[in-house]
């Protein structure tokens, strides 16, 4: 191997005899030799030939070996070109000085061909190794630079998607500390058309690009559906479906989602794979919140559970939410900040208002400065306040006649196969949302569609008795029954018809649903009083729909229902306010 690529050696010695002897030995061993007679000449030949190594006398005229070595090392830069001093010195200090002045080794005269060859080869190997190392380092640096560049671009795209939310709202405080340029944590917040606020805190497995890529569809689904008035349960379900589809097995997103209704002071919460978070009541009571679900993207939607927990809040009650970054911050002794410390910190805070800063302080004090190890540290506080404290929800209603479809009708009939696997509600609501005037009441419309459809499907097609739903235990049984019957479904239909007419500033919507069932006792449902106190669970749906719609009629013994809704641009404000006041 050595013989194939001759090693180029620069010899610098003012003693012609010594130089010739050395040159002869080296060229006999198959090396290429360049000769210089003093230090200055050696430096210029070094620049010209860039040899693999240098063998150089110390004492030379014009420029001595030490100065020449210094200039050569400077010229070589990061490149490793070994310099071996030739010396007849025998005193130890003299030899040490050789190495101090930039030499890599020394050879004492007279030369032994065997030692010489071994040294030349050893240094050549070292030089090769150095070169390989440098190449690899440069490759890594190049890759890293490229990666950072890509992450920057990904972050820019993501910011465009994520940042039209309402994180700056009065009732939200948040802290995001990016471990990498793009960390795995995602915080999204948006207002629904009926004034609710929905917030999502997500933590993707892994950092950087996989997280950034996963965050895109997540943000789009979250904002898109919130704006259309979907409830938390539907949103979380849709996000899970999306994540399950796009993330490879083994990647997922731990998340907590909150929906706040500032009018009814009620909250829905969904938590999957997130460490315990807290609800801190205004009087200081601390309520732990525990994840009841698997992270998003793990389960297919058939086994996914989108059920939410509900809380009633007072003003100034707040959620304190985080990802595992906070609890896993490492201290000096390598232990983690942990749940206990976190809870004590919150309990020790003077007032609920101080809790947020207290956590940040405590984590900061605990943190080991040297530790490079760490996750993303994200902390959020979301508070219940009066709605007037928040900016108005901007609903884009393009005004004027003939904007969007206003005179149309459609018919959509679902057979058993579709009914088993497909939820037509988002699609139906999506069609309705094309009508600008209906967007303002998307939440209510969704309620209407959802109630009417579930009645038609569950009682009509599946023939489940709503009597089961009278108690909370029956509720569970009801859903088990529902699941079983859906799996066994082979016949039936639900037919949805919608007709809209209007002039762009007002309009009428007629929704008709027909099902293959035998109908039900209409009167019992429409008059909850006749249900002897058991109305809370099942009577509610229809009475709610009645409240929203201008009229609601049942025909064919209950297997057909017609709901009518009138909207007027001028009246919406009034009407919605009325409902919130109630």
């Amino acid at each position: 191997m050595m013989d194939k690529t001759p090693i180029q050696v620069l010899i610098a010695d003012d003693n012609a005899v010594d130089r010739k002897i050395l040159a002869r030995i080296l060229s006999n061993q198959g090396n290429e030799v360049v000769e210089a007679t003093n230090g200055a000449e050696a430096v210029s030949l070094f620049v010209e030939h860039r040899p693999d190594m240098v063998l150089m006398d110390i004492m030379m005229p014009v420029m001595d070996g030490q100065e020449a070595a210094r200039l050569m090392k400077q010229e070589a830069g990061e490149d490793f070109i070994p310099i071996i001093f030739l010396t007849s010195l025998t005193d130890v200090q003299g030899l040490a000085d050789c190495l101090e002045s930039g030499g890599d080794d020394f050879l004492t005269k007279p030369y032994s061909p065997v030692v010489l060859q071994a040294k030349v080869r050893a240094f050549y190997r070292m030089r090769e190794m150095h070169r390989t190392l440098q190449e690899q380092r440069d490759t890594i640096a190049r890759h890293n630079e490229h990666l950072l560049y890509e992450q920057e671009a990904a972050k820019a795209v993501f910011d465009n998607v994520a940042h039209h939310g309402c994180l700056s709202a009065q009732n939200i405080r948040y802290m995001l500390s990016p471990l990498a340029l793009f960390n795995g944590d995602v915080v999204l917040a948006a207002r629904g058309p009926s004034g609710t606020m929905q917030l999502l805190l997500g933590d993707f497995t892994g950092h950087g690009l996989p997280a950034a890529i996963g965050a895109m569809p997540l943000a789009e689904v979250f904002y898109g559906m919130t704006q259309k008035g979907f409830g938390l349960s539907d949103i979380v379900r849709e996000i899970n479906l999306k994540m399950h589809g796009v993330l490879p097995v083994g990647y997922f997103c731990c998340a907590v989602l909150v929906e706040m209704n500032f009018d009814t002071k009620s909250v829905s919460l969904w938590m999957g794979g997130v460490p315990d978070c807290y609800l801190l009541r205004h009087q200081g009571e601390l309520v732990p919140l525990r994840s009841k679900h698997l992270p998003l993207g793990v389960l297919s939607n058939q086994s996914f559970d989108g059920s939410v927990e509900r809380f009633d809040l007072s003003n100034e009650d707040r959620f304190l939410l985080w990802t595992d970054g906070i609890t896993e911050v490492q201290g000096d002794s390598g232990d983690m900040f942990g749940d206990e410390r976190l809870r004590h910190t919150i309990e020790a805070a003077k007032t609920p208002d101080d809790a947020f800063d207290a956590i940040l302080d405590a984590v900061d004090r605990f943190k080991n400065r040297e530790s490079l190890n760490g996750d993303d540290r994200t902390l959020i506080e979301m508070k219940m306040v009066d709605r007037d404290l928040l900016d108005d929800v901007s609903v884009q209603v393009a005004s004027g006649p003939a904007s969007g479809p206003i005179d149309w009708s459609m018919n959509y009939c679902l057979g058993p196969e579709s009914l088993r696997h497909f939820n037509p509600l988002p699609l139906m609501v999506h069609i309705l949302m094309e009508v600008p005037g209906l967007r303002v009441i998307s939440g209510q419309l969704y309620t209407v569609m959802a109630e009417l459809f579930s009645n038609a499907f569950e009682h009509g097609v599946l023939k489940i008795s709503s009597g089961l739903k009278h108690s909370s235990q029956g509720f569970l049984k009801y859903y088990q029954e529902r699941e079983q019957r859906i799996n066994a479904l082979t016949e039936g239909f639900v037919n949805i018809s919608m007709t809209h007419s209007g002039d762009g500033s007002s309009g009428d919507l007629v929704i008709m649903l027909e099902d293959s069932g035998k109908g039900f006792d209409v009167n019992a449902h429409l008059n909850p009083s006749s249900m002897a106190g058991a109305s809370t669970y099942c009577g509610r749906g229809i009475s709610l729909v009645k409240e929203i719609c201008d009229s609601l009629e049942y025909h064919n013994g209950g297997s057909q229902v017609i709901a009518r809704l009138h909207w007027d641009e001028q009246e919406h404000g009034v009407r919605l306010q009325d409902e919130h006041g109630a």
Partner: protein
């Protein structure tokens, strides 16, 4: 060895024992631990008695194993978890997917 495996019950059970931290650095070995096994293996037993900690990428690896072992029909038991490990599995609600003892 970070990971040790042994076959039991006429080569139907594969026991995978993970020593120390179960994190991304274990990725390759963990995968090899279950992929390079005879086809007779039906059940997987993950022994965490020597596992000090696991992170989210370890959870991901468990999901990969579950996928490999047949997804919904996979038979995977996780045993001997210490408190910290158990907690992480609980937070993630992995008992819905795995038999954790």
């Amino acid at each position: 060895m970070k990971i040790q495996t042994r076959l039991e019950n006429n080569d139907q059970d594969l026991v995978i024992q993970i020593n120390g931290r179960f994190d991304f650095s274990t990725h390759q070995v963990f995968r090899e631990a279950y992929e390079k096994q005879p086809e007779t293996v039906r059940r997987y037993i993950i022994d965490m008695s020597e596992t000090s900690y696991l992170d989210s990428s370890a959870l991901g690896m468990l999901l990969l194993l579950r996928d490999y072992a047949g997804g919904e029909s996979a038979m995977i038991t996780i045993v001997n978890c210490n408190v910290d490990v158990r907690k992480i599995l609980t937070i993630s609600n992995f008992e819905q997917l795995f038999d954790i003892r």
